[in-house]
Amino acid sequence: MVENTGISDIVKDENLVYQKTKVLTDKVMHYCPGCGHGTAHRLIAEVIEEMDIQAGTIGVTPVGCAVLMYNYLDIDMQEAAHGRAPAVATAIKRLMPDKYVFTYQGDGDLAAIGTAETIHACNRGENIAVFFINNGIYGMTGGQMAPTTLSGMKSSTSPYGRDVQMMGNPLKMTELVAQLPGTWYVTRQAVHTPASVRKAKKAIRQAFENQKLKKGLSLVEIVSNCNSGWKMSPVEANKWMVENMFPFYPPGDIKLEGKMVGKE
């Protein structure tokens, strides 16, 4: 496996500064090259390792590209019906309040079919973490329009671009749930650059740590590319994301410790 030893005396156990966490299994992820799902999975796994809560964590996977997340994280997981992960996680947390419980959901899952479950878990203030991967599209089923698809953006069910008049507005679910008293921490992140990855990881960690406080739900949105759905190369897709998604879905904290961050 060692292909590029470079300077062979650097590659030594004592010099190791980064390697795949043990909380990720060895299974090759089925995601398209450059898809943000992989990075998001890894960050969650790293946080679980760092907090040493592998035995203390139950994850809930969505229906979406991340449906098979349970193949990659070495923790107990449940696969929820499309959109219902927050309801599933509610039950887990209520029955095992000392566990760390998270859902991992796409934008179709969380903001279309699962709208009611999302809003109500947030509103009840369930002490769980919700990781919300917003790639503006239904990745798994072949790139259909999602609630978060931008105005004018093409998808397989908006082949001429999203016509807001006909198809409705893109939905900022994250801003919406931040309005609810049951959410404690709401933030929007990305994973396309080293800096953004490091910030996103902090946010994920925060969402786990918050569960100890029992003050409500933490939601971390991760704006991500679906290069397949967008029909671009991964690198192009990340660029497009920065130029088009970020203006509408700006990364940054929205609600901290139960309070909205600097209202506009």
């Binding site: 496996m1 060692v2 292909e3 590029n4 030893t5 470079g6 300077i7 005396d9 650097i10 590659v11 030594k12 010099n15 190791l16 500064v17 980064y18 390697q19 795949k20 966490t21 990720l24 090759v28 992820m29 995601y31 398209c32 090259p33 450059g34 898809c35 943000g36 799902h37 992989g38 990075t39 890894r42 994973v191 396309h192 650059t193 080293p194 990855v197 490091r198 190369s233 991964p234 690198v235 990340n238």
Partner: protein, 76 residues
Amino acid sequence: MAKSKGSIIVDKERCKGCEICVLACPTGVISLAREVNSKGYHFAYMENPEACTGCTNCAVVCPDGVITVYRKKVNA
């Protein structure tokens, strides 16, 4: 002044050639290989190994977590 020298190991069979790491490396260490792995992907490799500082940027952005990073302090 103490400087860092680094090196990465890419698990070439698991690399999907997405090029994200290439963009993320501040010192231009990484390129995609001309050859493909058994999955048909042009995998990443250290084209300029001497330039690596072991900053881990490439590894933290790699969606498939296939990069391992080593770093050593060296005297400049």
